[in-house]
Subunit: 301 residues, 3 copies
């Protein structure tokens, strides 16, 4: 049997992405089931993350599974100097599946290699967060009816935002046109541009956040975090520039949906929340269904 871990969104082929999204749609119709009856899932959060953890734990609970684990490393053996390998081997003996969030890049891959059971990466530092990508894709598919040929606008911190990078890679299967809106300090990294060039993916870069979004099918907002700037003055210059306000949506397309991985701080004004194009809260809910499908696939259920 091959390893069913999901560490990076690249672990899924285009076909597997579509298969999991179809499965998520089934879970949305019937979220409660007994697929995980008799199964124990380890939820190992070496750093806190309410949203992702609650979403996973809700998914597992609705499937009838049991959860053991920890919510931050202060209550784990890590404080006694245990290696990630030993913790993983120990836990993989107990349980049927591991969901892991860890601050160190590459930790999820390493864990998947020493574990006897599948590992689902719930975020490893700035590296990967593939289940977020799957819920983003599911939200796009559900609201647009397709993943193909869409105008995708990404706004904010495109340099460090792992959700942006993974979504870019995943959408590259589906002939997108990307528009990147970011300050120069936070523009999309060169490696991704080379990747898009090589794969004939159309993309445009902007520093202004204005009526160019009228052409968007999806507007993917992210936080511009102060701690990403070496010079605090640079942050002060841009911090209020990449904020979405309701009046900016007046001439946007009817099918436009606004996504955000959440938590949002102030990059989307509160008056947007009641606009029917705002979709970020439903997007968070979609995370439960996407994760149910990912868990089912990992366990071959």
């Amino acid at each position: 049997m091959d390893n069913k871990s999901l560490v990076s969104i690249d672990d899924y082929t285009k076909e597997e992405i579509l298969e999991v999204l179809a499965r998520a749609a089934e879970f949305e119709k019937n979220p409660n089931c007994n697929l995980l009856e008799g199964k124990v899932i380890a939820s190992l959060f070496f750093e806190p993350s309410t949203r992702t953890r609650l979403s996973f734990e809700t998914a597992i609970s609705r499937m009838g599974g049991r959860i053991v684990g920890f919510t931050d490393s202060s209550s784990s053996s890590v404080t006694k100097g245990e290696t990630l390998k030993d913790t993983t081997k120990m836990v993989s003996n107990y349980c049927d599946l591991i969901v892991m969030r860890h601050p160190i890049e590459g930790s999820a891959r390493y864990a998947s290699e020493v574990s006897d059971v599948p590992v689902i990466n719930a975020g490893d530092g700035a590296n990967q967060h593939p289940t977020q990508t799957m819920l983003d894709l599911y939200s796009i598919m559900k609201t647009q009816g397709t993943l193909e040929n869409l105008n995708i606008f990404m706004v904010g911190d495109l340099k460090y935002g792992r959700t942006v990078h993974s979504l870019l890679m995943a959408l590259s299967h589906f002939n997108p046109t990307f528009h990147f809106i970011a300050p120069p300090e936070l523009e999309i990294p060169r490696g991704y541009k080379i990747f898009m060039d090589k794969n004939d993916i159309k993309y445009f870069e902007h520093t202004e956040f204005d009526d160019i979004i009228n052409d968007a099918d999806i507007l993917y907002m992210t936080r511009v975090q102060k701690e990403r700037f070496v010079d605090p003055l640079e942050y002060e210059k841009v911090k209020n520039v990449y904020i979405l306000k309701n009046n900016m949506l007046a001439n946007t397309k009817d099918n436009l949906k606004i996504l955000h991985p959440l938590p949002r701080v102030n990059e989307i004004a509160v008056d947007v929340d009641t606009n029917p194009k705002a979709y970020y809260f439903q997007q968070a809910l979609n995370g439960v269904y996407a994760r149910q499908a990912i868990i089912a696939k990992a366990l071959n259920l």
Copy 2:
């Protein structure tokens, strides 16, 4: 469908109070059931509270429900600057009911207004703690056979004690006679006296804690907390005055029961514990049944 949230004890009419107490008595007979099968309850404790949390989680578990959540805000997105509104909207998308403890007064009401599912207030700062009131009422009803026409003595911190205030409001439906025993610094606030005057509720104030309790049906003890005093010397003067000792119970009524919201520090001497009139540990257990009934009502089950 009307909002079934329980934020303040005033959200229940007299009839609803009696209905929930009757339901609690049924749960006491058969605590284990499947009423919450397939339901996911969010237990959001923005500040720690073992007793209330364990009581709720036991109630939910005995009803077959699943629990997701956090036990203090350090492991929540709050640390990333997320607003209570966003956290609540997100979680209310996931789950069927929210149980929330929050340090800020008014937070539970606000959450109930933005949530798509009912919210049960498990304590919002010094403001309200309605499920505590319901378990207090259930304990009184169970031990006295009625809530009507009782002599209720309240002792200790009557100024800041939210359990005292809510119980006072709830009992006002049932023609009580109140006796308040407290140091002047911690006497019952003027607003409650005005309320009782307007509603023809008999009450008496005392600063001495002595044989006046011989007339009591219920003796409701609370902690006198050092941090409530502006002047530490004032605290030193009263700290040992409002302590219940076993010999003080010699001439009290046979039907007297001693209640305390717990945790107790030293305001009830340990030698009282074995007196049959001590009821605070059973009272805590009653919290499970009262909360089962409150949850069932909130979900219309």
Copy 3:
């Protein structure tokens, strides 16, 4: 009904040890069951312990039970000054069984005396950790086919290691020959030597960790912790002496198994992990089955 608590390994007779081990073997064959359906187990960890907690919670989950509790005392009422007695009495009202880890020696015994439900000691300071002992015994029984007449080698911190002391006491029922390998600072305490002398138990003491292990059936490794040494220089002298390396196993017996209570830091070199004689990860898994059997016995199921 007698108190079914397990506070110290001495609470079990030889017959009870064997009965629980036999039951553990049954749970290993069929770990998933409904024995705890409708039961709520309190998991009270006054200090963090991932391994023990996850093992217990997995055991309970696989038996269909529900868990309430806390993972460290910061989220408990202890911070409000509540006594262990009150916390225990409160929780024992709610639940069917208490699993307790507490930093203070003797706390588990005290809790078992005030609790209305059985208490299982999951470690009380340096004192007792009887469920660890039962999983150690189960691992020995499973790999050697018997507990009788074995050559047991114990290595490392034999002075403070509670797992060593409890295992010594438990194995004394089964005619063992002990070999103790430790620096003089950490040798087995005199009280245990007197006990062995009185009970005609053969034992040998060594300070060198060398080919004397070729005679071992069981090699029980423990950590040498820096904080145990008054003089840091003494620690520096011995810290690399009691490390097991793969080449040391070349001439050991075929039936030898290496145990370790985990977490391991560096006292077993990583190259040992793939040696078939390494058994510490399976040993940890055995903890789930041993704890299932212990819980079943405590609840008379």
